[in-house]
Subunit: 234 residues, 2 copies
């Protein structure tokens, strides 16, 4: 049965390959709230399909006649409109502070992970998205995917330095949000799931506290993240 | 009247010059809880005075026969032992997520600000601390204070990039913790107060949302941070 909620979710050449870090935030937030959703495979170049959201990126969540976009705004919407379900933030202070984690993930972690995995993404994409993706991303990085691929070891070392505050936090607590996962985890884990779906590279060594947290997150929400199709299994 | 609480607080050559970012976290947390404290001017080389804490760094907070150290551990102690006073974290989830902010401040922001201001610190120190400070910090940076001073413009540009997630967070909310300051703000602001006490350099341009937040923090807690003595006023 449809609940009416629909999520436009970035997909690869395979409809089931869902790799957007920002869409994963929303998937996990919906799972946290226990709100069922129908996901719709969407490609970068299908701007018309989400035009009613007033912009061109996913996640776009359709609730009745509302077309919500931007992962943080969607999380706040879910928190405010499903107040009797498990909280994404715990309290107002928790919400505000999670915003910083969200911004750190978007502005610092996503670029650091992109630098490692972005050359692998075109192989996963629908044919019609490949030219768009390469052109926009090579412009953003200021160099070709081939040049980026040659720098992967350096990119992994830089990522490890970037992860320092996450590592020390997870050395003393199970989740970013404490004893159980919540939106601060979704905001960060989305990027790890992105890498996991697209690439076979290990972002962190096995002994890193972050690796143990990734495993815990993969098992969360009845294993929803672990069940995601990956490039290596396509 | 003494309340019995005593804080060993890093001081410069002038007893009233209090510049440690980690001690400022504790000062602000105590002010937030409305708990009076006697601060004791302490210098880097006075390890014996705080030996009962089992280590050699400040803040050290003495409560009865307890010698507490490390700013985060002190914040948790205050939250747990003054539960009827204004909360530092809002809720357990807020506490856990604030831990990430604390780690980001300590591991990312402090080094980025140090790179800008550290060459100015020796002038502020007690004579007996200067050799210790220069030796340990030049070893940490792997270059002389003179070399660091020559890189200040580059260090300021790097700091501006480091501040991106704080900037975008404060573009949409008044404080890191939301509508009012709390420990997530103390953990970050301590570093700005460190720079303000030691240096006359502007870390952020006036139009930066971070600058407006710094002004709000200076006025918080009855203006305690703004009333601090600065090198420029010594």
């Amino acid at each position: 049965m449809s609940t009416g909620l629909r999520l436009f979710d970035l997909a690869g050449g395979d409809d089931d390959l869902r790799f957007s870090p920002n869409c994963w935030r929303t998937r996990l937030a919906l799972a946290h709230k226990g709100v069922p959703v129908d996901t719709i495979a969407w490609r970068f170049t299908e701007k018309d399909a989400i035009a009613r959201s007033g912009q061109g990126k996913v996640p776009v969540l359709v609730v009745g006649d509302k077309w919500l976009h931007e992962s943080w705004a969607i999380a706040e919407y879910l928190e405010d409109n499903y107040p009797d379900r498990p909280s994404l933030f715990g309290c107002l202070q928790g919400r505000a502070v999670a915003r910083f984690v969200n911004q750190w993930s978007s502005e610092v972690l996503h670029p650091a992970i992109a630098r490692v995995i972005v050359p692998e993404i075109p192989a996963a994409l629908h044919e019609k998205d490949r030219e768009y993706f390469r052109r926009t991303r090579e412009a953003a990085f200021g160099r070709s995917f081939e040049a980026l691929a040659a720098e992967r070891d350096e990119a992994l070392a830089a990522l490890s330095r970037t992860l320092a505050p996450l590592r020390s936090t997870l050395a003393t607590q199970l989740f970013v949000a404490g004893a159980a996962p919540a939106y601060a985890d979704h905001a960060v884990f989305g990027a790890f799931q992105w890498a996991r779906v697209i690439s076979s590279v290990a972002l962190t060594p096995a002994a890193d506290p972050i690796s143990a947290w990734v495993e815990r997150m993969l098992d969360a929400y009845d294993g929803l993240p672990r069940s995601a199709k990956r490039m290596t299994t396509v």
